[in-house]
């Protein structure tokens, strides 16, 4: 299978994502410069990596959403292609409207760089199909504007349609206020679109893909994507 990693000016987790796919997962991967207008053919999964695209000027992701490649990204999403936006990639997907919501500054007003626990909320998705629902992953976060916000009515819709895929929790999987690092509404760390093929998450699974570095929990998400793509009859999540 083949992954793509988009490179925006200011992306700084592009090589981490590339390495996670190439070395840790052992699959094919190609960079895509943001000024391209088409994606490589035969792409199975596209990654929008973390970083500070366009310096995070105005709002995180606000300017990157107008990059030339983004029209192709929208077409890829509508055709059912898998997209994973990590951190700044999540912010860009929200700005362009492929995912609901927006980001506020962390409640503590500080940039956070640490490892957190997230709970897998459902296992019947392309991104979690090899994990069990309720599983707890240790994944690093690194963001200043990771305080995910949706208005109350939109939050009800997200919950009703099972779009919340990851929630900040403690080591035992309890979703508590003290386990919420940045103030995100309902402890949300990752959401999918209604169709289930576009994921955005603030934690960085690509930074936790090698036991030598102390943590390989993030690799499980990449393995789930591969498992989904290798299935004979891939079934998109129906909500």
């Amino acid at each position: 299978m083949k992954f793509g990693v988009i490179v925006f000016p200011g992306s700084n987790c592009d090589w981490d994502a590339y390495w996670a796919v190439r070395s840790a997962l052992g699959e094919d991967v190609a960079f895509v410069w943001h000024k391209e207008e088409t994606l490589p053919a035969d792409l199975d999964c596209l990654i929008l990596p973390g970083g500070f695209s366009y310096g995070d000027y105005l709002r995180s992701g606000a300017i990157a959403r107008f990059s030339p490649i983004m029209n192709a990204v929208i077409r890829f999403a509508r055709a059912g292609g898998l997209i994973m936006g990590i951190c700044n990639g999540f912010q860009i997907l929200c700005e362009i409207g492929l995912l609901p919501g927006a980001f506020l500054r962390n409640r503590c007003l500080r940039f956070l760089c640490c490892t957190v626990f997230v709970r897998v909320e459902r296992s019947d998705t392309p991104f979690t199909n090899t994990l069990r629902s309720g599983a707890v992953l240790r994944i690093p976060i690194a963001h200043g504007e990771g305080n995910y916000y949706v208005p109350p009515d939109m939050l009800r819709g997200l919950e009703q349609h099972g779009q919340v895929l990851f929630r900040y929790c403690d080591a035992q999987g309890r979703v508590t206020e003290s386990a919420n690092p940045n103030g995100s509404v309902a402890n949300i760390a990752g959401v999918v679109n209604r169709e289930g093929n576009v994921l955005g998450l603030m934690p960085h699974p690509e930074r936790a893909c090698d036991p030598l570095l102390g943590n390989a929990d993030g690799l499980s998400i990449f393995q789930a994507i591969r498992h989904f793509c290798s299935a004979e009859r891939p079934i998109l999540m129906v909500t």
Binding site: L58, R59, A62, G101, F103, Y149, V150
Partner: protein
């Protein structure tokens, strides 16, 4: 067509807690400004716009606010100033 100096202010929506504003408000209270309340921090953006009239310049910037300068999920915007730019007098 004339040139106008236009300013827009973008703030978090009223329904959203402004942690920065609250922190600044507490600091103001500590240093002796107890009568200041409801502090909101926002962005001030000013720009020149070529337009046929002040009204057109305002509408143009409001559209820019909707498309890019503000995110309607979390932010409100308002155009606060529209002033003609004085022509440069040469010689």
């Amino acid at each position: 067509m004339s040139s106008f100096r236009v300013a827009a202010v973008v703030t978090l929506r009223r329904s959203i807690a402004d942690v920065q504003g609250t922190t600044v408000e507490q600091a103001l209270h500590i240093i002796g400004f107890p009568r200041i309340e409801h502090v909101r921090i926002g962005k001030y953006i000013e720009m020149n716009v070529v337009a046929a009239s002040a009204e057109e310049a305002r509408a143009y910037v409001e559209e820019a606010c909707r498309r890019l300068l503000a995110n309607p999920v979390i932010e409100d915007y308002r155009v606060t100033e529209v002033e003609p730019v004085a022509e440069l007098q040469v010689g």
